[in-house]
Amino acid sequence: MKLQPMVFTINARTNFPLFSKEFSMPKNILIVTGSPRKNGNSFAMAEAFAREANKRGHSVTRIDAAFEDFGGCKACNTCFSSGCACAFSPAFNRAAPALQAADVVVFCTPVYWYAMPAQLKAFVDHFHAFFCGQKDLSGKAYALLACCEEEDESVMDGISMPLARAARSLGWHCLGEVRVTGVNRAGDIFLTDGCQRAAALAQKI
């Protein structure tokens, strides 16, 4: 597979040939991040999750939506008509195979204006392609790693609810959510148990 700049695959299976019984079957995990801050708090959680998932023999692919150019859905409904998922978004067409192959999709994001950032929403909006093109995307698990500046956890509902309802309509089940409040500056996450909780969630796979 040709590696794309922002879509890279770490195949840890080969690094861990000896699975003990406590290791589950290796799964394909897609982590999709929404933050534009490379040293930010949600990225730290994404890395903690990825590290633990790798350690347990899973294959982790990561897509950083804020460093891609997905663009929004144009509702043209020509999805998959020319073979690829989207007639307008080469970035999404590069990401689509990883999404289709994933057993677990992990959304990792800060809260912007009480919802996910536009860049991550653009990725999610392109899920329409699979409905429109009648491609089966069901049966996956999803997880949410989110953090916000405010102390009130209900701030996260603007992300949790849309993802939960989207998952239901896609036929996905929830692996778990890690919602960390009260972090803003890069590094604040290390003053919380956010990364530990993200790693613990990876153990549930």
Partner: protein, 181 residues
């Protein structure tokens, strides 16, 4: 009193249902003597916020110069901001969210944008109006943070195909929203 209104739309469908409601609102608002500036996010190019916090440092709102910089001065001046969007995956479309995310530029630069009024015009395919909560709640909480007051929400479930809105009272309700100005 004549008010300055900015209408931000999120639909990519130019003949779609939220656009029909938007048109009805704008027509009614103009008839009442208000000034309306419309910005169709999905027909322009607005990228997401990069959290660089250099907003307004080079004059315009965002140093990553996209079409947000065209509408930013009107938003700053507006008395009323109307958000119009279909529901995509249980919240607003990515294109409208990109505009909302860039409202951050006013906060970073310390621009006074408190005291505005806002309204929501939205529609969705499902019949369950609770679907709208993913649009309504983030806007309501953002408004509370900004010090904006809600003058109305027109939330119409059960429309999908172009023209479905005409089988509802959505356009009438959107036009009536102008009475609240």
């Amino acid at each position: 009193m004549s008010k300055k209104i900015v209408v931000l739309t999120g639909s990519p469908r130019q003949n779609g249902n939220s656009f029909a409601m938007t048109d009805a609102f704008i027509q009614a608002a103009r008839q009442k003597g208000h000034t309306v500036t419309r910005f169709d996010a999905a027909l322009n190019n607005v990228t997401g916020c990069r959290a660089c916090e250099r907003c307004f440092s080079a004059g315009s709102a965002c140093v990553f110069n996209d079409d947000f910089n065209q509408i930013a001065p009107a938003i700053l001046e507006a008395d009323v901001v109307v958000f119009s969007t279909p529901v995509y995956w249980y919240t607003m479309s990515a294109q409208l969210k990109a505009v909302v995310d860039k409202l951050y530029s006013f906060c970073v630069a310390g621009k006074d944008i408190a005291g505005k009024e806002y309204a929501v015009i939205s529609c969705c395919e499902e019949d369950d109006v609770a679907v709208m909560e993913g649009v309504r709640m983030p806007l309501a909480r953002s408004a509370a943070l900004l010090g904006w007051k809600c003058i109305g929400e027109v939330l119409v479930p059960g429309v999908m195909k172009i023209g479905d809105i005409n089988n509802t009272d959505g356009c009438q309700k959107a036009a009536a929203l102008a009475d609240a100005l």
